[in-house]
Amino acid sequence: MKAFLVAVAAAVVLATAASFLLAENQRFAYQAFATSGARVSDPGTNLVGPRWTGDIKEPASASHKMEAGS
């Protein structure tokens, strides 16, 4: 039983470590698909959300229409 619990704990720890390593290795499309000549200051968050997951939880601070108007 002890070996089993230690094994499950180790699996969780290793999986968490793997998730961090994979996140470290992750590249944004704007990094991967920019040439050396491109200076990407603000890659934009429309369509993909501020955290690049796509689910927008927080209310939009400024809609595109307002931005366009200002």
């Binding site: 944004f28 499309a29 990094q31 698909f33 920019a34 890659p43 689910d55």
Partner: protein, 198 residues
């Protein structure tokens, strides 16, 4: 209802990439994501042709079939759309798509590459038409405003046609008959299982 399709007349496409730029600007597509792209075939050789390609909104779309969470749906205009709330970013649609349409905000590895993004035929997503949430997830909804996709509308040589499949096929047929040649509707056989017979 119309059956919306794209048609790229490769004999007219001059690879100006205006369709790509129009799409980028209309939907404020972030850096690195390309809903539409122009591919040049036989580049630099005689007989070179460029084709503007995006999601073709296939008949019996393969992306929709393979999606493990069924996040795709087809609108009354036969436009293939998806829900980013349901998408898990698994990438199966990218394997299935014959046109390389699905895009992901992150590209390094499969684990957390975010929600898929693709051409919406300028018709938003499942959110309320013309809402802020719709714009932030899927871009603008020109179809709801009675307009056609901006890429085709902006095309300087009217190479890229968008609209009801039969109408654009008719326009293309007339062109081919008038000028006497045409290299065919690129991708139609794969997307719609039909070609334009002239």
């Amino acid at each position: 209802m119309a059956r919306m399709k794209f048609l790229c007349d490769a004999d007219r496409c001059i690879e100006c990439n205006a369709c790509v730029t129009a799409c980028k600007n209309e939907h404020e597509v972030p850096w690195g994501i390309n809903r539409r792209r122009v591919v040049t075939l036989n580049d630099g050789k005689p007989g070179e042709r460029s084709v503007s390609m995006a999601c073709m909104h296939c008949t019996d779309a393969p992306c929709a079939a393979v999606c493990p969470v069924n996040c795709f749906y087809t609108t009354a205009d036969a436009v293939v759309l998806h829900s980013k709330d349901l998408c898990i970013g698994c990438g199966y649609c990218f394997y299935a798509c014959p046109f390389g349409a699905p895009q992901y905000p992150r590209v390094g590895n499969f684990g957390s590459r975010g929600k898929m993004d693709k051409c919406t035929y300028c018709s938003g997503g499942p959110e309320v038409d013309l809402s802020v949430a719709e714009y932030e997830k899927y871009g603008s909804n020109r179809l709801a405003e009675g307009k056609l996709p901006l890429c085709a509308e902006m095309c300087s040589t009217k190479s890229l046609l968008a609209g009801d499949g039969e109408m654009i096929a008719q326009i293309y047929k007339e062109r081919v008959i008038k000028r006497g040649y045409g290299s065919g509707a690129w991708g139609w056989k794969t997307a719609y299982r039909e070609t334009i017979a002239i």
